[in-house]
């Protein structure tokens, strides 16, 4: 299985990027050459050099160090949003598929309503209602994201609901809740978990977008979207301040997408 996963060079690149991000997140204080928040007005707007690899910003902070610390914020948001949205979506989807009838109708119509908003717009209005902060963006994205898992899990539950192992659990008298959590959910969770691994990248992208419009991380936080937003003021003088944070987002999202794609191909029966 591992050999097939890594036979694709793109998946390998994805894995490499994700591992690199994890390493940067854990060892940020040791890897980054400077304090990401340290202001040094004597060194402002310096272009990339051996001293400041990615240059400095409008108050002389080292952009390379800020980007390394930024991995912590982005990875945290990505993981937490999925950790909140995934179980909620999964349980609701499993209940909808398993119980059926009116319960199914109610749950699915609610997901329809959430999905009738473009994701970023719904997250934007919830975050705006909660007030601008990184925690609120996290919550807003989680509220926006769960219906996708509900849909996916529901359809996988429907496909195994009448399988023999489920029947036999019922016949031997297991109570329905036990059947749901012990038989149905564990056996229908794979497609949704792959979606979740792909979503890590998209959540990071969405969170950066919300920070870019001023809803998420607030300055001087070294969050990539917020850094891009403030780079616009100095675009004429410092191309590097805009270039590198965006590149960091692109590489991170690409890494999670490539790895997620590889996992999906691996588990898709069509590719066996």
């Amino acid at each position: 299985m591992a050999r097939r996963l890594f036979s694709s060079p793109l998946t390998l690149i994805g894995l490499f990027i994700v591992l690199m991000i994890i390493v940067l997140t854990i060892f940020a204080p040791w890897i980054s050459p400077k304090d990401p928040l340290e202001v040094n007005l004597g060194q402002k707007l310096l272009p990339p050099s051996s001293e400041h690899w990615f240059g400095t910003d409008e108050v002389g902070r080292d952009i390379f160090s800020r980007i390394i610390y930024g991995t912590r914020i982005s990875l945290k948001i990505g993981l937490l949003v999925v950790v909140i949205a995934f179980p909620v979506g999964t349980v609701l989807g499993a209940i909808a598929g398993f119980v059926g009838g009116v319960v199914d109708q109610i749950i699915m119509r609610i997901t329809d309503i959430f999905l009738s908003f473009p994701g970023i717009i719904l997250a934007m209005s919830i975050a705006a209602a909660l007030g601008p902060s990184i925690e609120n963006v996290l919550l807003a994205l989680a509220i926006t994201w769960w219906p996708w898992y509900t849909r996916i899990v529901r359809s996988s539950v429907l496909s195994i609901k009448n399988a023999e192992f489920v029947e036999s659990a019922r016949v031997i008298g297991a109570n329905p809740i036990r059947v749901l959590f012990k038989e149905i959910i564990p056996n229908s969770i794979a497609p949704a978990s792959i979606q979740a691994s792909l979503d890590l990248g998209f959540v990071i992208l969405a969170a950066a977008g919300l920070s870019f419009i001023g809803l998420g991380a607030q300055p001087p936080s070294p969050e990539w979207g917020a850094m891009l937003s403030s780079s616009r003021e100095i675009l004429r003088d410092a191309w590097w301040a805009a270039t590198f944070p965006g590149l960091a987002i692109l590489v991170t999202v690409l890494g999670f997408n490539l790895l997620g794609d590889g996992l999906r191909d691996l588990l898709d029966p069509k590719n066996r």
Binding site: I120, M124, G131, L250, V253, L258
Partner: protein
């Protein structure tokens, strides 16, 4: 007859969704914030003003009564009052919406123009260089923060080369064309104003490309996989055997049959573009709904944010409804139920 019945059924099914959208936006605006009156009053209001506002907004009444009032206002086109522009939100929306629609349509046009041929070529040359190239490009497109691409384009084409404008919809000094649709390009064409038309098109280029970069990737991948299915079929082989050229077989036979999934995805990308307008319009100071919403967030002008949210959701489901109906009309094999 069946088609008509299907359309009516789909239209009726829109009502529960619309109802749901209003419940959700009501919930977001009236329940999530600790104090909607404080939010509506703006950041600088004093306690007395807030208390008065709470009374006039009916916040001391039970929730279902509040929802009733909310719905009643909506039905009468009352989306609240903007504290920032000092006029009813609906007036702002009328002013800003055409710019967003114009940008979205233009970027969809670019998406179709580039994404579909790329997907067709990619499928036809499966696993060759061209396919690998489009695959990497579309992966990058989907992972790229559009607002970052916008900044880079701005940096290069506006600040460095100075060949394309960096903000707004028209050159300074030009006055907008006579308002017919509110879309400058179309209005300029309709009124025969060639200078304004040129200026409007030039201003659209960078924002539209930025907006399209993401959706091109999505459409290319969908076209590719849809075409791969179709290319395996017998009638494609027959068409080739009869001596059809590549172009004729690919675009005349295969693409027409592979169009269905692409059409559905176009509806989704439309929603994606509308959502992305919030980011792209901010980068290019494009005076549309997205920029309006972001300004509203900055000034804590909450009724405006909620109106934009609701409007975009309604637009999104309407476009998807139209596509679903088209889908049924185009493909008679599908069963209407």
């Amino acid at each position: 007859m069946d088609a008509l019945r299907y359309i009516i059924k789909r239209l009726l099914l829109m009502f529960p969704i619309l109802f749901g959208i209003t419940v959700l936006t009501f919930f977001i605006s009236n329940t999530i914030p600790g104090d909607p009156a404080r939010l509506a009053a703006g950041p600088h209001a004093d306690a007395k003003v807030i208390e008065e506002l709470r009374e006039t907004m009916g916040l001391n009444k039970p929730l279902y009564v509040q929802y009733g009032t909310y719905m009643n206002n909506l039905v009468h086109g009352d989306f609240g009052f903007s504290n920032f522009s000092h006029q009813p939100v609906i007036e702002d929306i009328k002013a800003y919406f055409p710019a967003t629609l114009e940008l979205t349509l233009f970027s969809m046009f670019i998406t179709i123009l580039i994404g579909i041929p790329f997907g067709v070529i990619s499928a036809n040359k499966k696993d060759k260089i061209a396919d690998q190239f489009t695959r990497v490009m579309s992966l990058m497109g989907v992972a790229m923060p559009a607002f970052w691409l916008g900044i880079l384009l701005l940096l290069f084409f506006y600040l460095q080369l100075g060949i394309l404008p960096g903000s707004g919809r028209l050159d300074t000094g030009l006055s907008p064309p006579v308002t017919i649709t509110g879309m400058y390009t179309l209005d300029a064409l309709l009124s025969g104003n060639w200078t304004v038309f040129q200026s409007a098109i030039i201003h659209l280029i960078l924002p539209a490309i930025t907006q399209a970069a993401v959706t091109i990737g999505m459409i290319t991948r969908m076209t590719r996989s849809s075409m791969l299915e179709v290319l395996k079929s017998d009638y494609v082989r027959t068409a080739y055997a009869k001596g059809g050229t590549d172009t004729r077989v690919l675009y005349g036979h295969a693409l027409r049959n592979g169009m269905m999934p692409i059409l559905t995805l176009l509806g989704m990308t439309f929603g994606h573009s509308l959502g992305g307008s919030v980011l792209v319009e901010s980068v290019f100071s494009w005076p549309g709904l997205g920029k309006y919403a972001v300004n509203a967030i900055t000034y804590l002008d909450f009724p405006a944010v909620m109106a934009v949210t609701m409007l975009i959701a309604i637009l999104f489901i309407t476009v998807n409804l139209i596509i679903d109906i088209l889908y049924q009309v185009i493909d008679p094999r599908l069963n209407y139920d």
